[in-house]
């Protein structure tokens, strides 16, 4: 945490500390100091020594401290969350061996407060599960739309299981309804695929591209050069200004913007379709995204080629790696959408490798929130009809 963030964030955290039932704490907690030390850890090991000493103190706390330790994960950075998680593990392990019971009621109250950190709530759930499995089972039933993707996954798993049971006894209408509910809530690829496959077998149509929120309509420009992989660092005209009518000197002649549509239900945009299977080439893909309000989002990208992404002309991230493998949501890129029209530019570099598995020059990009729930553009065009394909569903 940067010093300004520490100065602002920690007082805010302690000011907002509340008992699990939402009531304000009667007095400052004796654990507040050590918790503050854990929350102050930051990059490259900063704050570790103080955190280690504080952790020793926290790890000796009793079971009653668990809601406070879990609550301390709210707004904590990922490193601090891990310190806190390890403290929870240590407390539960030691106190459990001493025969002390988990504070199930307090953990349940914590779990039900969806404002808390999703991972902390999942941890609370797992502790409840350990102490009272039937209670946990009952709780998970209502969590199909939970902000915690892990809690949601368990709830969706149950929906899928119920739907399959209905299907087995011939109640196809009920099964279809339950599969549809499961699909709406599912955020993990395997569960999405499972629900979609079952629905299609029941004669229902499924728009996977829309479910994920893949961007399907692009303009692409290229090819530009990427000999000796130098294109990644080279600044070609589309990085300086988007002029969709412009023509540029390219690798094989004039480069201009052409339409490219992702006729793949997993949103794959195949650059080879625009320019042919080139090697040592660079292309740009451009799309616009209209939203009715400013909001944070995640761009989730899958790409086996070297790439860079800009949102509203601001570089979000880039990675210079080729053909090592990819999967849906490979890269999660936090970004900010502005009200109205947003521009998204993707740079894609293809390298010199000649092996058959290095032909791919493609990407998938979707816009979603932190749970993976699609954010759809206000002016989203209908999903393109999928091209006939023999390709298997995406499984990773």
């Amino acid at each position: 945490m940067k010093s300004w963030a520490a100065a602002v964030g920690l007082p805010l955290f302690f000011a907002s500390c509340q008992a699990p039932d939402g009531a304000p704490p009667a007095k400052a907690s004796p654990l507040a100091g050590p918790i503050g030390s854990l929350r102050a850890v930051d990059a490259e090991g900063r704050g570790n020594e103080q955190a280690a000493a504080a952790w020793e103190t926290l790890s000796k706390a009793g079971m009653e401290a668990l809601p406070e330790l879990l609550g301390a994960m709210d707004g904590a950075n990922e490193l601090a969350a891990n310190w806190l998680r390890a403290a929870v593990d240590a407390v539960v392990e030691r106190e459990g061996r001493a025969g002390r019971a988990l504070p199930v009621a307090a953990l349940e109250a914590f779990l039900k407060e969806t404002r808390h950190d999703p991972r902390a709530r999942r941890l609370a759930f797992e502790l409840i599960q350990r102490a009272d499995a039937p209670k946990a089972d009952a709780l998970i039933a209502g969590m199909a739309d939970d902000p915690s993707v892990e809690l949601r996954r368990d709830a969706v798993g149950r929906l899928l299981s119920n739907a399959q049971s209905q299907q087995k006894v011939g109640r196809t209408a009920e099964a279809a309804a339950e599969f549809e509910t499961a699909l709406r809530s599912a955020r993990d690829l395997d569960q999405i695929n499972s629900a979609a496959m079952q629905l299609r077998q029941l004669g229902k149509s499924v728009d996977l591209s829309r479910h994920f929120g893949f961007l399907t309509h692009w303009k692409v420009a290229g090819p530009f050069d990427n000999t000796e992989r130098k294109g990644f660092a080279s600044v070609y005209p589309p990085e300086q200004e988007i002029q969709l009518a412009a023509k540029y000197p390219g690798k094989t002649g004039q480069a201009s913007w052409v339409e490219l549509v992702a006729a793949d239900e997993y949103g794959k945009v195949n650059i080879n379709d625009a320019f042919g299977p080139l090697k040592e080439a660079t292309a740009y893909a451009y799309s616009e995204f209209v939203t009715d309000k400013a909001r944070p989002c995640e761009l989730r990208l899958a790409c086996k080629n070297a790439w860079k992404v800009w949102v509203n002309s601001k570089l979000v991230f880039g990675r210079d790696e080729y053909h090592r493998g990819t999967r849906i949501d490979h890269y999660r890129l936090p970004a900010q959408l502005e009200r109205g029209r947003n521009t998204i530019l993707v740079k894609l570099c293809q390298n010199e490798q000649k092996e058959t598995w290095t032909v791919e020059w493609e990407f998938q990009l979707r816009v979603c929130d932190a749970t993976g729930t699609a954010i759809l553009a206000a002016d989203r065009l209908p999903t393109p009809a999928p091209k006939p394909t023999t390709r298997k569903p995406e499984t990773k």
């Binding site: 100091g33 280690a52 998680r85 390890a86 240590a90 493998g325």
Partner: protein, 403 residues
Amino acid sequence: MKRTLLLAAAIAFAALVEPAALSAADWPQFRGPNTDCVSTDTQLPVELAPENIAWKTTLPGRGLSAPIVVAGRVILTCSSGPLQERLHVLCYNAADGTLRWHRQFWTTGRTMCHDKTSVAASTPASDGKHIVALFSSNDMACLDLEGNLRWFRGITRDYPNVSNSLGMAASPVWVDQTIVAQVENDSESYCLGIDPASGRNRWKLNRPIGANWTSPLILRESSRNLVVLQSKSGLDAIDARTGKAAWSYTDGASTIPSSVSDGETLFAVSQGITALRPSASGPPSQLWRSGQLTPATASPVVHGGRLYTLNNAGVLSCGKTVDGARLWQLRLKGPFSGTPLVAGKHLYCVGEKGHVQVVDTAAPEGKVVGELDLGEMLLATPAAADGALYVRSNTQLWKIARR
């Protein structure tokens, strides 16, 4: 409270900088005490049968990191969840396999990797009092032997392009009160020398750009310890405390199997095997080079004047360390990902198809004298300590000992 915390911090970290407390019976890191996969244990089982399984335990996640054994504890890492975003560090009692402690962490780096490998690919390392666990997400946790967290690092969080979409696998080594971790890849490629007391960098070296799954090799010389870093460019021997280069070998090297040393000669996985004699004052001199002993995934092992390698076909080759001449070959039940372990005249080869095979290397052409089918894919290098062999799969950890 602040003063108390600082005092506690000072006490806690004083413990971290004390001299190493490893016992000769410990197996504290990938490929053992000297990163050569040689065990001095004379009580390892040879003729294997199901009755030799002293205990086995089900793991909470997958992994191909090797177990380490320190002070009667077996320490292992796993990863779980649909995207392997949950990390586990587990500590079992070596005597009976009961769980002493279990710590979990959430990844802060990317978890993408090839289906065959896992986020728990790197083997932990220990100084005898603490352990450090590194994962493919480049998350690194340091704990003491009772599971108390000393520090946690998110190396990809620190350096956002440190990652490999096929998965990272280099295991750290703990030498001269420094943790040496190679986090080399196609983009931001580094080797870090980390202060065990604080988890902060002592030094950070830029390394050759390129995916690299090899692990550091410790060269124990009379006056100093060197750590040999391998990459596609070759070998770089560095001082662990400072990261300063002692010498380099620039004739290229493998990025999968790691080189090995018998204390005098370094057997580089370079253009087959290249035998090098390190020098105190300059680059190593080349003794010989052989294309007949080229290893596949598993690293070579060296013992008693013999070098052993496993090729893609599961054929074990035995060569003379003095000149690289191949003496014999023996087809085993492969293929192999884990590096064999040698103890006396016996070589323990753990095959991907689940077979633990014991080879008598003193037999004229080598001979399999013990075999146990564990019935699961085995990718990890085994560990040996206190008369027992430890083997792990994606689901189980076994202790195999004499009856």
